[in-house]
């Protein structure tokens, strides 16, 4: 099966389970450690944002995560019922100009942008749907081996 679906509560410690499942999914499909590292980091940054800023304090809610591999592209979809938030509308970090503002915010999404090929946001009903896509390196397997 090339797709898994997970559901977690909006609590930071639950992210560890997502990273475990993600790493397991990718490793079983022969993906190199650097791809696993980059996607774990992208997932963690996105989930941290949703969990920290998406909900009123004390509000418990579920976050759905789908991970699929389609035609050498990993697609990860995050669905939450938090307040409407389009990460793509946030201001990009200007690493040159705002020296000490680096520590304030925006770094997480900056990292995600660097690690994935595409990002999409939709608001559907009461849900935020955020999708990242990362194309896998073509030469991940040794030459001559076709699979």
């Amino acid at each position: 099966m090339e797709k898994i679906a997970l559901s977690i509560q909006n609590e930071l410690p639950q992210m560890a389970r997502v990273n475990r499942e993600l790493a397991d999914f990718l490793e079983k499909r022969g993906q190199p450690a650097n791809v696993v590292f980059q996607l774990e980091l992208a997932c963690e940054e996105i989930l941290t944002n949703i969990i920290n800023y998406g909900f009123e304090p004390g509000c418990r809610s579920a976050i759905e995560i789908e991970i699929e591999l389609v035609a050498q592209t990993v697609i990860i979809t995050f669905i939450d019922e938090g307040r409407p938030f389009n990460p793509l509308e946030t201001q990009p970090v200007d690493l040159e100009r705002h020296r000490r503002e680096k520590i304030v915010g925006g770094l997480g999404l900056h990292l995600v942008c660097n690690m994935v090929d595409e990002m999409d946001y939709m608001r559907r009903g009461e849900k935020n749907i955020f999708v990242i896509r990362k194309r896998l390196p073509k030469n991940a397997r040794p030459k001559g081996e076709t699979k």
């Binding site: 590292f37 980091l41 963690e44 690493l95 990292l111 660097n114």
Partner: protein, 112 residues
């Protein structure tokens, strides 16, 4: 995350093993603050065992560097693995924190 601390002369060394992320940053921040409050100004972060760093980890390193700049201290990272180095490069960490390959080199810079 395992954080070990050592002192060499006036240099405070943190050896980080595992992941510096949202879950482990509070522990590191607390240890850094305690050391700075006790007068430490020169810090070496040994990243040889650091497997992973997220934006929360980067923020705590940046904020440590800015605080030490105000206190006329310094922070240097050494022995960074390829994955973590790539993340450092994405945010241009080396514009604020010197990153060198060996502990000896880092100690030399901090003693200068």
């Amino acid at each position: 995350m395992i954080i070990s601390e050592f002192k060499k002369d006036n240099i405070h060394i943190f050896n980080l093993q595992g992941k510096l992320d949202a879950a482990t940053v509070p522990d590191f921040r607390k240890k850094f603050r305690t050391a700075a409050e006790n007068g430490a100004r020169f810090f070496l972060i040994d990243c040889s065992g650091l497997e992973y760093i997220s934006s929360a980890g980067l923020r705590v390193l940046f904020s440590a560097a800015f605080k030490l700049e105000d206190l006329e201290g310094k922070i240097v990272c050494c022995s960074v693995g390829a994955g973590v180095q790539r993340v450092f490069d994405m945010v241009d960490l080396s514009s604020e924190i010197q990153v060198v390959s060996t502990e000896e080199e880092a100690l030399r810079i901090l003693r200068a």
